[in-house]
Every structure is written in structure tokens, then in C-alpha cells.
């Protein structure tokens, strides 16, 4: 740390030295100029490289596609013209001017793909890397780019969790490898390892906000997902869950300023598909009566006595009126709305000979269809590159954003919860207002209208992500790069619960919580690449230092004079707290790659990572990998087969690690100072100390080995096929291992488990038609992942009522329930499977039924264009994943709970002998009621969804010129337009909790909206 400033100064000092280096003026023998154009459209190609064969002299075309050579060479000579996405072409230049046509390469073998610490062309790739073009998806209104990549690539499972924009989502690259450590991939934005764990502290029902939503997706140009060990091992300790490298837009040298404006507006609507339908008041009331009477019968009370005191009996008998007299009050409909969506995005890019720039400003506002919740983001982006001289480049990437959210409790929690406790579970016969006009608080739950009117939870995230780098060419082929990065996030939350809400009943309740997360990174790489005849050889060395700190200050208050006073200074009861935690990481890495004639490739890497989180004995972990590929296409037997334009076999093996997500001091034995008690009666508390956690000096890196075999096929220059099989095996899995509580401790962080993931991925991309007039591209991908807990000392249960259980031999996120076989038609009693055959039903008879993880998932994309009209659509799907329908569970159906709603689908509950149904007789006695965690609530949540449909129209070049613009496109885009699922709720992707071991629970989760947006995109 002490040296960091010095190092910068040193760098700045040495920089000018190089700019003094001078070139001698060459003798002019020829003057050649012309244009490089697309062979189909004859559009100019700016930035294409034109090189004279045999010498190093090359130039790039400008914005109009012009190039110009002033050279000592005499005509004729051979030119090599190359451009990203086009076939490289050789032309013999005889006269000037010379225009050249390049043909687009449908198979994109020459596509540049970003990999760890470098770039490669697609054909040279050894590892398994998927590239996702951002412009295809960045209009999907979900606030964060990670939510937009669903269905776009093999091996990446994205679960959207909820319909609230900017909420955290789950992304899994080739399965779940960790239990306690983070399972999301590593996100790298312009070289910065960004923070992806939410800073939210205010409880809003279980889910938390996404720090990824601080980044404006439209600033992104491409995302590369690194999947196998060969690709990820260079990130060592952080590569086990895959790596997503985000590249944002930059300018081009020698190009005129280009202004791009995009404006869109639209609406989100509630999808009525499988929307919750509650029984009407009379039916609901009848069920409550049934339950009441049955319960008393089961207690041995005579029918007449029980019947006489049923809750819904005539008012003159002191009851609430007969069921038939009950009104129906709809609460669920009240909490949803049509949501407004707005996007404004303005950018400027261009460059001179030695400077290039990209500047953008964007504003997004997205309301949630669930009332009160909304999301807005203002962001600024500035990317600059400066050539100091022929040897030195410096650049900066800056992202600055402010994200504001209104939040509302939805999900877990009986108080302050708008969707579950204030609406879904409330008996529909209960009036929303008392006869005197005041909001009723029936059944101990918040009033739905009060929740809508009084909810006041605001969170503002201020984020700055910056990277400064200098690239120095020390020798020809030897490059040095140093980079300095910062990810700073200030997260400021303020909530007030009015005295009309349950949480605020003691004169209002307020919280103010301010969190700060800071990451700084320093990185050096030294890279050498040499081509000698057919042999290409590269070597990379590097090191990284990273420091993370996180800090929180919280103040809470209650007892306010009235609801107009919301500052905690006005509270009569106050409390506050502070926390700080930090960790450091140091790494050294190296990679060697070699290929012979672009035919045989071999690549090996190693990374050493040291973490302050681990005990002194095990601070360092070493993560090697090796991979190779064989381009059979280059073999003589295939070289001339024109139908096959690519055939490549890849294989890799390597080790990656994980330590993300575990607490910073997990290896240390600690005592807390937060155990106060009084010295005498009436006196306040004095400080007290107590054991906090047991140390584990042997705590070490979790390691995941991965073997991958892949095949890349290209056919007819139109079809590409990408297939992989892989197996990942995690050892020393970090987890919170249970201890006998008699020790005074319930758990400690240990390396105590093993997990495996194996599967295959298959993707096919076909350009069926491509002409100037009409084109059609289709892409289909499917992935299979089988997850299994291979070793675990003891099963670990999660969530209330132990709904979820981690157990050896089963996948993670498995549901643990009593298995109801049928309902006895005579008695109406549920009959359960006696799993251990001991003749009684006890907790030992709970078993695992299904997991929230899908067996198969993927997407299907089509892009069509005819003249200026384009159409694209994307389907996403998951097969085999299960969902716990906790909404239904918490209604009357679940435990025949008093004063609760009933779902229409559940009206066929057992009523009289002979009834055939799977919903047992309603009673609050016996097993029907006590054994509540039953398989009835575990539902199939496989789905097929029309995720996105976009229709656009772009002006032709001639027309555009008339309007004095370069490009103009108008488009309509819709998301979540169609869904098929057997799940009996509106959204089969629902997820109520941020805990990664708790997945697939739908509990008051607002569904994803159907959205429609109209947009216009102008380039000047």
C-alpha cells in the first residue's frame, strides 16, 4: 500500500521519456488510397486494417472507410485487408485509387473474444467461452445486465427471482459449486472485479437489491462468459463459478464524432396467467366454519355444541352472519398497477489519431407492477484512450451512477408486507375498512391500503467504478500493463413505518442505514508473444493486489411525535450500531500458450492466491490448468472440404477456487462485546462479553476441479455448432458446519463437503438466409447440469420449518417434506408414507422430493430482417425445476389456518365421506394439521417463456440522409409476452429469499411483468 502512490508518480515520470523517441522520415515511392466496403451493402467499413504484405506498415480506414498509404514500397504490392467479423482478404494493388470489398464472415471465426488478461480470435480459443452481444438484449427492462443474458448462452442458468426491477437475481455458470461461498460468477467490468453482493440491510421480505443494477446495460458492448477451467483458472481463487467479462463501449481512433440517442417509453402490465385467484367471501367463510367444527369434533366436543358456536352463524346468534351473507373484498387486485417504463440514453464517441473517447449519459426509470416499488438510475460513462507515443497507451474507464429505489416489503414477515400478509393470506370476507371508516387490521395483519399509502422505504446507491491503465511496449512483442481500479459504493437506506402500520405501532418506527463498500485493485501484467514460422508462442506473467472493506452505520428509532416527524432525531427511543469488516487478496499468475500452424494449440496457466480470510497455515492456494485444442479443419483431409469450414476439438482440465461470500474472519476465534446486562434493578445495561465464534485455523480454499471436452463445428459457412461436456468436482467446500450445541456453539465455518456438477451444453447457430434483402438467423441452445452433494458430515436444513435440506446424495436446494400418499376418502385424513417403516409418522419420515434446480434449460433466438424491417424473438425455458408454493401453504389449504384466504383451486378440499381429493379435511388437530411440511406444496415449475419480441424499422441510407441523420430506427419491444407452465402461480421463476441455499420458494413474490416499449434510436 505504501508504495502505490510512489508507483503512480514513477510511472508518470517515466512516461514523457518515451514520447521523445523519434522516427525518421521515409522516402516516398508510392501513394495509394481507396475505400474498404462491405461486399453486400457497399457500406464503408471504418477501422478496417490494411497492411502491406511482407512489411509491418499498416493503416486503418477512417469513418468513411478511406485508407491512405504513403510508402517507400513500389507498386504493385500485395495488401492484406482484415476487419472484425469479415473474412481477411489479399489483393494485389496495381493502381490508385483502389476500392476493396470484404465479405462478412458468417461463422465469425475471426471474431475477437475477450479472455482473461487478453483477447483471442474465436478459432484460436482453447477454453470454453461464450460471447454475448449486448445490443441484442439490452432493451429488456430488468435494470441489470445479468438478468438480460437469460437464454442467450449455453451453460448459464439465470433465474429472475421477482418482478421488481433491480432486485438481485441468480446466475449459475455450470451449476452450484459452493454451499456457503458465493455461487454467482465473477463479474469483471473493464478490468475491475466488481462487488456483486448486496449492501441492503433493511428487511423487505427476504430478497435484496442487485449491485449489478448500478451499471447501465446500454454502455456495454459485449459480455464474455468464461466457463471451463482453461478459461477461468487464470482467475484462480475466483474462477470456480465462471467469469463474466464485461466490455464497455470505447471510441475509435480517426473517427468523426458520432452521437447516438435512444429514447423509449412503455408500460409493464400484470400477466393474468395463473394469477392468484382467491375464493369469494361465502366459500371462504364456509371453509372456516368447516375447520372450526371439525377441530372441535376432533377434540371430542359434540357436533351440536361445536356447530352452535361456529364463527359464521347468524348475527342474532352472536356470529358474523351466515357464510352466504358474506361480502367479497379483493385485496390482491389493489396492490398491482400498470407500471411506467422510461429510458433515455445519449452517447458520443469518436477519436483523433492519438485519442479516442466514449461518453454517455443515461436515465432509466422503471416502476414495478407491485405498487410503490420503483427503480431509477442516472449514469455517466467516460472512457478515454490516449496514445502517448508508439509504445505507450494510457486509458481510463469511468462509470458513475446513482440508483434510487422505492422499496416495499413483499415476501417473508408478518409486518410491513404488502403482498403476502396484507393481501394474499387475508380472508376475502374480511372488510378492508371498519364500519367507522378506519382501516381494519383483521387477522393481525397490515391493512392493504395503509401499506400502499404509507410505505416509505428509500434506498440510494451511489457507485463509482474506475480503472486507469497504462500499456507499455517494452520491446517489440513484449508488453507491460499496469492497472489501478476502484469500486466504491455508498448505499444509503431510510425507512419509516407509520403508526398506522403494525411495525410502527409504537409511535412510528424508523431506520437509517448507511453502508460503504470499497474495493481497490492493482494489477500488473507482462505479456510476450512471438510468431516464428508456424510456431506461435505466448507467455504472460502478472500479479494482483486487492483490498476490500465494508462498513455500516445504522440508527433506529421509534416513538415519534406523529407521522410528520420522520427524522430519527425526533424519536423518543433510539438505538444505533456500527460494523466494519475487511479482507485482502494477493495473487500471482502466469500463462503459457503455444500453437503450431493454427492447428495444434496448447495452453497452461497457474495462479497463486493468498487471502487474509484463511488461517496462517492455509493462506495460499494454487490453481493450475492445462488445455489443448486441435483444429481438424487444418488437416489435409479436411482442408479442401468446403462444406466443413471449421472442426475443432478442445479439452481442458484445471483447478479453480472460491472464498467469496464467507465472512472475513471465519478462521478466527472471536468474542463479542455485545452481551450486556444490568448490575442492579432499575439500572441500565452495562457492557458484557461472550464467546462469538470458534476459530478454525485450518480453514482453507475451496477447490473445484473441472474437466471439459468440447467440439466446435462450422458447416457451409452458415452453421456453427458448439458442444461441450464437463464435470466439476468441488472439494473442501466451505460451509457452516453444525456443532453439537452443547458446546455453546451451533456451527463453525469449515471445509467439510464435496459437491459435483456434470453436464453437457449444446448450441447451434444458423444463418439460414443472408442477402441484401432478407436475412434470417436462428440460434438454439440447451444445457443439462446434474448437481449432487457428494459428501456432507450431517444434513443441513434451511428456511423456516426446514423446508429445504442439504443432504448427501441429493442436489442442493432440495425440498424436504412429508410425503402424502393420498387422502382417505372415508375419513378425509391425509395418509403419509412411512419412510422408515416404524409404524408411526415422525420427523424421520420426511424425505427429499425434487430440487429448485432445473434438469435442462436454454433459449431459442430468431432474428429476421427484410429490407429495413427487423424482427427478433427469444424464448427461454427450464425443465424439471420444482417450486415450493408457500402462498398456497399459508392460506387455509396449508394448515387450515384460521381467518385465512382460500385459493379457488383448493375449493375441492375433503368435505364428506366419499370425496376423492388430495386436500385433506380441514382441522386444527391431528396430523392433517401438524404435519404441515407436505409434498402437496412442491409443484413442477418447468416453463417456456416468450422472453422478448422486438420489431424494428430502420430508415434506408437514402432516406436517412434526407433527415440528415446517419441512422434512424424505431422499434417496439415486448417482454414476458407468453408463458407456459404447470406451476399454479403467476411466475415459475419466483424466489423469495436472497440466501443461495434457499431457492425455489414463492412467497408473496411479485411476478415478472408483461412489458411493451416503443423506442427510437437516432445516430447523428
Amino acid at each position: 500500500m505504501r508504495y502505490s502512490l510512489k508507483t503512480i508518480v514513477l510511472l508518470l515520470m517515466i512516461s514523457p521519456v518515451y514520447s521523445l523517441a523519434q522516427e525518421t522520415t521515409p522516402r516516398v515511392n508510392s501513394n495509394l488510397h481507396g475505400k474498404v466496403l462491405d461486399s453486400l451493402s457497399h457500406e464503408p467499413l471504418p477501422g478496417a486494417t490494411v497492411q502491406i504484405e511482407g512489411v509491418t506498415h499498416s493503416v486503418k480506414t477512417d469513418a468513411e472507410g478511406n485508407y491512405n498509404f504513403v510508402t517507400g514500397q513500389k507498386l504493385p504490392y500485395t495488401l492484406i485487408i482484415s476487419y472484425v467479423g469479415y473474412k481477411t482478404k489479399k489483393v494485389i494493388a496495381k493502381v490508385s485509387p483502389l476500392n476493396m470489398l470484404l465479405t462478412a464472415d458468417a461463422n465469425q471465426l475471426e471474431d475477437v473474444v475477450v479472455v482473461g488478461y487478453g483477447t483471442q480470435t474465436k478459432k484460436d480459443l482453447v477454453g470454453s467461452v461464450s460471447k454475448i452481444e449486448a445490443d441484442e438484449i439490452n432493451r429488456i427492462p430488468v435494470a441489470s445486465f445479468d438478468a438480460q443474458i437469460q437464454g442467450k448462452s449455453t451453460g448459464i442458468q439465470v433465474n429472475n427471482n421477482s418482478g421488481v426491477p433491480g432486485d438481485g437475481i441468480n446466475v449459475r455458470v455450470r451449476g452450484t459449486t459452493s454451499i456457503l461461498a458465493d455461487n454467482n460468477p465473477l463479474y469483471i467490468v473493464d478490468g475491475v472485479f466488481i462487488n456483486n453482493s448486496s449492501l441492503q440491510t433493511v428487511h423487505t421480505g427476504g430478497r435484496t437489491t442487485s449491485p449489478i443494477a448500478d451499471i447501465n446495460p446500454t454502455d456495454i458492448i459485449s459480455m464474455e462468459v468464461l466457463k471451463d477451467a482453461s478459461a477461468t483458472s487464470i482467475y484462480g481463487a475466483r474462477g470456480a463459478n465462471g467469469v463474466v467479462i464485461i466490455t464497455t463501449k470505447r471510441g475509435n481512433y480517426n473517427s468523426a464524432p458520432k452521437i447516438n440517442l435512444n429514447v423509449s417509453a412503455g408500460q409493464g402490465k400484470l400477466s393474468k396467467y395463473h394469477f392468484w385467484e382467491l375464493s369469494d367471501g361465502p366459500t371462504n367463510a364456509e371453509a372456516v366454519n368447516q375447520n372450526y367444527i371439525n377441530t372441535r369434533l376432533d377434540k371430542g366436543i359434540a357436533y351440536d355444541v361445536a356447530y352452535a358456536s361456529r364463527p359464521f352463524r347468524p348475527k342474532i346468534e352472536g356470529g358474523r352472519g351466515n357464510p352466504a351473507e358474506q361480502e367479497t373484498y379483493d385485496r390482491v387486485g389493489r396492490v398491482f398497477r400498470n407500471a411506467k417504463l422510461n429510458d433515455y440514453d445519449l452517447s458520443l464517441q469518436g477519436g483523433s489519431e492519438s485519442t479516442k473517447y466514449f461518453i454517455s449519459g443515461a436515465y432509466t426509470s422503471q416502476e414495478s407492477i407491485l405498487k410503490v416499488a420503483d427503480f431509477e438510475r442516472e449514469s455517466l460513462k467516460l472512457n478515454l484512450d490516449q496514445k502517448i507515443n508508439n509504445h505507450i497507451n494510457i486509458g481510463v474507464s469511468n462509470t458513475f451512477s446513482r440508483t434510487g429505489r422505492s422499496q416495499v416489503g413483499a415476501g417473508n414477515g408478518s409486518q410491513g408486507n404488502i403482498l403476502s400478509s396484507a393481501a394474499l393470506v387475508q380472508g376475502t370476507y374480511n372488510p378492508i375498512y371498519n364500519p367507522d371508516g378506519t382501516p381494519s387490521l383483521s387477522g393481525n395483519r397490515d391493512n392493504v391500503d395503509v401499506m400502499i399509502e404509507d410505505t416509505d422505504i428509500k434506498a440510494v446507491s451511489t457507485r463509482y467504478i474506475a480503472n486507469l491503465f497504462a500499456e507499455i511496449e517494452i520491446l517489440k512483442d513484449l508488453k507491460f500493463k499496469t492497472s489501478w481500479s476502484l469500486d466504491y459504493n455508498l448505499y444509503d437506506e431510510k425507512g419509516y413505518w407509520s403508526d398506522r402500520m403494525l411495525q410502527g405501532q409504537n409511535g412510528g418506527d424508523a431506520i437509517s442505514s448507511i453502508s460503504q463498500a470499497t474495493t481497490w485493485i492493482n494489477e500488473q501484467t507482462l505479456f510476450y508473444r512471438k510468431k516464428i514460422k508456424g510456431h506461435t508462442f505466448g507467455i504472460l506473467f502478472g500479479n494482483t493486489l486487492q483490498g476490500n472493506t465494508r462498513k455500516n452505520t445504522t440508527a433506529e428509532g421509534s416513538g415519534f411525535p406523529n407521522n410528520s416527524y420522520r427524522s430519527i432525531s425526533d424519536a423518543s427511543i433510539k438505538s444505533n450500531s456500527e460494523s466494519w469488516t475487511g479482507s485482502n487478496l494477493a495473487s500471482f499468475f502466469s500463462r503459457i500458450d503455444y500453437n503450431f500452424q493454427s492447428r495444434y494449440f496448447i495452453e497452461a496457466s497457474i495462479r497463486a492466491d493468498g487471502s487474509s480470510r484463511f488461517g496462517s497455515k492455509n493462506k495460499w492456494g494454487y490453481f493450475p490448468s492445462i488445455g489443448g485444442s486441435w483444429r481438424l479443419k487444418e488437416e489435409s483431409i479436411l482442408k479442401d472440404v468446403s462444406a466443413i469450414n471449421e472442426l475443432k476439438l478442445r479439452a481442458s482440465y484445471g483447478l479453480t477456487g472460491n472464498q467469496n461470500g464467507i465472512v472475513d474472519y471465519a478462521s478466527s476465534g472471536l468474542w463479542t462485546g455485545g452481551a450486556p446486562y444490568a448490575n442492579s434493578a432499575g439500572g441500565g445495561y452495562s457492557a458484557g462479553t461472550a464467546p462469538y465464534q470458534l476459530g478454525n485455523p485450518y480453514l482453507q480454499w475451496e477447490k473445484t476441479s473441472q474437466v471439459n471436452v468440447g467440439l466446435d463445428i462450422g458447416l457451409f459457412n452458415k452453421i456453427t455448432i458448439d458442444a461441450n461436456i464437463y464435470k466439476k468436482y468441488t472439494t473442501d467446500a466451505l460451509l457452516s458446519a453444525p456443532l453439537p450445541s452443547s458446546s455453546g456453539h451451533s456451527s463453525y465455518v469449515a471445509n467439510a463437503g464435496e459437491l459435483s456438477n456434470k453436464g453437457f451444453e449444446f448450441g447451434i447457430d444458423a444463418t439460414i438466409v443472408k442477402s441484401n434483402l432478407f436475412s434470417w438467423n436462428t440460434n438454439f441452445n440447451i444445457s443439462r447440469n446434474i448437481n449432487k452433494v457428494e459428501k456432507l458430515i450431517v444434513p443441513i436444513t434451511y428456511y423456516s420449518r426446514d423446508w429445504i435440506r442439504l443432504e448427501e446424495g441429493y442436489p442442493v436446494n432440495s425440498f424436504w417434506v412429508y410425503n402424502q400418499l393420498y387422502v382417505d376418502p372415508q375419513t378425509g385424513n391425509a395418509v403419509y408414507e412411512d419412510v422408515n417403516s416404524d409404524g408411526k409418522i415422525t420427523a424421520d419420515d420426511r424425505k427429499i422430493i425434487g430440487t429448485a434446480l432445473p434438469d435442462y434449460f436454454g433459449g431459442f433466438t430468431n432474428k429476421l430482417s427484410y429490407k429495413g424491417v427487423d424482427l427478433s424473438f427469444l424464448f427461454t425455458y427450464q425443465i424439471g425445476n420444482k417450486m415450493l408454493n408457500l402462498n398456497r401453504f399459508l392460506s387455509m389449504h396449508g394448515g387450515t389456518r384460521a381467518d385465512r384466504s382460500l385459493y379457488k383451486e383448493d375449493e375441492n378440499y375433503w368435505k364428506k365421506p366419499g370425496d376423492i381429493t388430495d386436500i385433506p379435511r380441514f382441522t386444527s388437530q391431528g396430523n392433517n394439521w401438524t404435519l404441515e411440511t407436505v409434498n402437496r406444496f412442491i409443484e413442477d415449475a418447468s416453463f417456456l417463456r416468450l422472453k422478448n419480441l422486438t420489431v424494428g424499422y430502420g430508415l434506408s441510407k437514402d432516406l436517412a440522409k434526407k433527415f440528415k441523420v446517419q441512422d434512424l430506427r424505431i422499434y417496439i419491444t415486448g417482454t414476458n409476452l407468453w408463458l407456459y407452465s404447470k406451476y399454479k402461480g403467476p411466475d415459475p421463476e419466483s424466489n423469495t429469499d436472497a440466501e443461495q441455499m434457499v431457492q425455489g420458494i414463492d412467497f408473496g413474490t411479485p411476478p415478472q411483468p408483461k412489458t411493451f416499449q416503443l423506442g427510437i434510436n437516432v445516430t447523428l
Binding site: I14, V17, S414, Q524, W671, S680, G688, L694, S742, W929
Partner: protein, 456 residues
């Protein structure tokens, strides 16, 4: 190599060297919120903070703050369930499963208190700090012994004989493998800890910390459970005779109403501080209706309401319950900032302990005298002792019924009925295996030395 190139290379190597050099202490980051467990109980101040830490565990929501108490009163016959979490209902209908959440949180919380006490008992004697006078040292160690005695006593009442751990857990290595002891051995541990506490604790008056008098009160209860009537009545007498310190204050609600804390009735109660609102509020929420900001997990049942509201039976104890527009609710824990004390030992209990001990010894007249002291305070007429008609059985039944109302919302009724063998008659539980709660399923799975109670 050109000269410029050599210069560049040298500059780069210098940078790399500097960065690698700065790495030495880089991988050590000290926490700020917690301290290392290597320096914990070393002087007078840390000895005192560590003992307050034991009380913190005793007062925690898993123990006297809520969950442990709920097992005692829910398993009786005074309450009905109106909440959502079925775990609570399992106690009311006497069908507790081993995966019951309360069962496991109570187990964890009690052993946490024991471990904290073990740390104090092990480490405080070795401290040499002039500020730690021998009086203070004895008091602190005595308090730790007292809490450990209470903790094992409560474990025995809920689960039967348990694993007896008397050494602190300081590292993963010293988590010992221990079998369950018998109920008798567990009670012996309670007795020996209580004797140590009695010897070490000062004979002062402090209603929120353990003193010699607190140890006596627990001894009286202990001997009631072990049916050593002589000792039970003599310990109870020691407290009853301190009429200045421990009067039976009237009316009944004087010991809890109007936000009073540490009333003269209290021998030992746990104190909560409004400045620490976050930890306090759990208990009253379960009792209070929505209108008062609670969630009303349980409410008095119809039978109990008839008794408590009958002026000839409940007397002025009817202040334990209150009514909203539509429902009755228990009102012992009512303070909106969650500072209701947890009542552990009250003088009224000592009267009823002695009454029972006298009755068991055949001294029925003396038994009625103590019983009537309680009835008198509740605004009820004395039950006349008639040598001709009063029997031991009727006396014991009268005491039992009095205890049901006197300690309606405190953790007594269930333990009383189990201890006297009356659970079958009164609650209709014929399966005596149900008299003990199951050992938490999760503990059974983790600890191979821990055996489940029969019947679960």
C-alpha cells in the same frame, strides 16, 4: 537492445519489485467488531463483563426471553393457539415433534448460557488483579455457578438427563464427546452447583442478579422437584421470613402492572433495558393483539378465561387478562418497548412450595396457612381447614389449582403436572414418554453420543 528499451525494462522491474515488496503484512486484516478469543477474561473488568455475558444468555429470546418460558406455559392447559407457526401448537396439543423449532432453540440457548458460565468458572479463579477483591471474585464465580445450576435444572425439566459439560469450549479440539447423564446425575450437578453458589454468593438483596437468597429460592424449588420436603420447606421458610425484603404485595398485579420492575415480590427476575430495544420485544409480541402492536401467537383459552374471570376462583388475578373489542388476550407481558421482566423466582412460589411440602408431610393446617396467604393476596376468601374433612389429596389439589392461576403465564403448570404425575389425569396424556420433550433432531444428527428420548 536499444538503450531506451533497457531503460523501460528497468523501470518495469522496479515497479514489480516495489509491489511485491509491499506484500508482507498485507494478508493480515484484524477485525474491529470482535476481539480474539485468546484475551478474554484476564482482569477485574473483563471478569465482570464476562459474567454479565452469562446473564445476557439467560435473558436471550431462546431462554427466559421467550422460548423456554413458552414450553412451560403452552404445554399446560391455559392457552390456545392463534398464530401461524405450528411448532407452538404442538405444545398445546401435546404432540411435539423432534424437528420442532422451539425445542432446538431452547436447547441451544441453555447450553450457550452453560458454556459462558463454564468460561467464568474456569478462568476467574486464576485472575490476579488487585481490583478483583476476593468478595467480588466469590460473587462472580457464585453467579456463574447459580446460572449453571438453573440451566441444568431447566434442561432436566424439559429433556430429562442431559450431557453434563463443566469445562468451557475454547477451541474446536476441546469439544468433548459426552454421553447423556441420568436424570439423577443431572440433578446432582444442579445440587452441587447450587451449593457452590450458596457458599460463594453474598447475602445481599439484588433482584436482577443472583445472591445467596436467590440460591435459597432455587434450592426450595429444587427440593420440591426431588421431593425432599424437609429441605424444600426450610429453604422456602428462609425467604418467607424475610418479610421486609419479600412481602406478598397486593393486589395481585402489583408485581407487574404499571411498568413496575423489580417489585418486592421478585426474588429473581431478568431485566431488559429500553436502550436495547432490538433484543427485547419478542415475548410480548406473542401475547399482545394487533391493536397493541403484537402478533398474538396465543391467547387464553375458554376454560381458563372462565376460571380467571370467576371472582370466587381467580379473584383479582383477572388482571392477567384483558380484552379488545373481539378477543381476550394475556396481559402479563405488555410493555411496548419490550422491557417486561422475565419472572424467574417470585416469593409467591415460595409460599406454595412450602404449602406443598407441608401437605406432603401431612401438616395440612400449615399448608392451608401458606395457601391462604396467596388466596388472600388475590382477594379471595381463605379455604377453611377442617380436620375432619380435609385430606392430603384435597389439599394438594387445592394447591395445584392455585398454582395454575397464580403462575398462569409463567413456566410452571406443565412442569408441575409432570412432576406430580398428574399430567395423565389433568391433561389426558396417557403416554408417559411425552412427559419429556424430544431431543432436537438436528442435535441427534450432529452428535453421535446424544441419544433420543424414548417415543420420539
Amino acid at each position: 537492445m536499444k538503450r531506451q528499451e533497457i531503460n523501460r525494462l528497468q523501470a518495469i522491474l522496479l515497479i514489480v519489485f516495489l509491489i511485491m515488496n509491499s506484500c508482507s503484512k498485507f494478508l493480515e486484516v484484524e477485525p474491529k467488531n470482535y476481539v480474539s478469543d485468546e484475551i478474554t477474561i484476564t482482569d477485574a473488568a473483563s471478569a465482570q463483563t464476562s459474567v454479565r455475558g452469562i446473564y445476557d444468555a439467560l435473558a436471550s429470546s431462546g431462554y427466559y426471553g421467550r422460548s423456554f418460558q413458552s414450553i412451560g406455559y403452552l404445554s399446560g392447559d391455559n392457552l390456545q393457539f392463534t398464530g401461524t407457526v405450528v411448532y407452538n401448537q404442538q405444545f398445546i396439543i401435546h404432540n411435539v415433534q423432534s424437528d420442532n423449532g422451539t425445542i432446538s432453540s431452547v436447547w441451544t440457548a441453555i447450553y450457550k448460557a452453560i458454556d459462558r458460565a463454564n468460561h467464568a468458572i474456569e478462568k476467574i479463579p486464576a485472575i490476579t488483579d488487585p481490583k478483583l477483591t476476593s468478595t467480588l471474585k466469590d460473587q462472580l464465580i457464585g453467579e456463574a455457578y447459580f446460572i449453571r445450576a438453573l440451566a441444568y435444572f431447566d434442561l432436566a425439566r424439559v429433556y430429562g438427563g442431559v450431557q453434563l459439560l463443566t469445562k468451557p469450549t475454547s477451541s474446536l479440539e476441546n469439544i468433548t464427546e459426552t454421553k447423556r447423564s441420568s436424570l439423577e446425575e443431572t440433578y446432582n450437578q444442579v445440587k452441587s452447583d447450587l451449593e457452590n453458589a450458596e457458599n460463594l454468593l453474598p447475602n445481599t438483596l439484588n433482584r436482577v442478579r443472583a445472591t445467596k437468597k436467590t440460591a435459597w429460592a432455587l434450592f426450595a424449588r429444587y427440593y420440591l422437584y426431588t421431593k425432599e420436603w424437609d429441605k424444600a420447606s426450610s429453604y422456602a421458610t428462609q425467604l418467607i421470613e424475610e418479610t421486609t425484603n419479600y412481602p406478598l404485595i397486593a393486589p395481585y398485579n402489583s408485581w407487574f402492572a404499571n411498568n413496575i420492575v423489580a417489585s418486592p415480590e421478585s426474588i429473581f427476575e431478568l431485566s431488559y433495558d429500553p436502550a436495547f430495544i432490538t433484543g427485547n420485544s419478542a415475548h410480548r409480541n406473542s401475547w399482545q393483539p394487533t391493536e397493541n402492536g403484537g402478533i398474538k401467537d396465543w391467547i387464553p383459552n375458554e376454560d381458563f378465561l372462565q376460571l380467571i374471570n370467576n371472582p370466587l376462583i381467580g379473584g383479582n388475578r383477572n388482571t392477567l387478562v384483558a380484552k379488545t373489542a373481539s378477543t381476550w388476550y394475556g396481559n402479563l407481558y405488555y410493555r411496548s418497548n419490550g422491557t417486561d421482566p422475565a419472572y424467574v423466582l417470585r416469593i409467591a412460589e415460595q409460599y406454595l412450595i412450602r404449602a406443598e411440602a407441608f401437605a406432603e408431610q401431612g401438616n395440612l393446617e400449615a399448608a392451608y396457612e401458606d395457601l391462604n396467604a396467596i388466596r388472600n393476596r388475590a382477594g379471595l376468601e381463605a379455604i377453611g381447614y377442617k380436620a375432619s374433612s380435609t385430606t392430603k389429596e384435597t389439599t394438594l389439589l387445592a394447591i395445584e389449582n392455585e398454582r395454575r392461576l397464580e403462575f398462569a403465564f409463567e413456566p410452571h403448570r406443565w412442569f408441575d403436572l409432570v412432576r406430580t404425575g398428574r399430567a395423565a389425569t389433568v391433561l389426558g396424556i396417557t403416554d408417559t414418554k411425552k412427559y419429556l420433550m424430544p431431543i432436537p433432531l438436528v442435535e441427534i444428527k450432529v452428535d453421535k453420543w446424544l441419544e433420543q428420548n424414548p417415543g420420539y
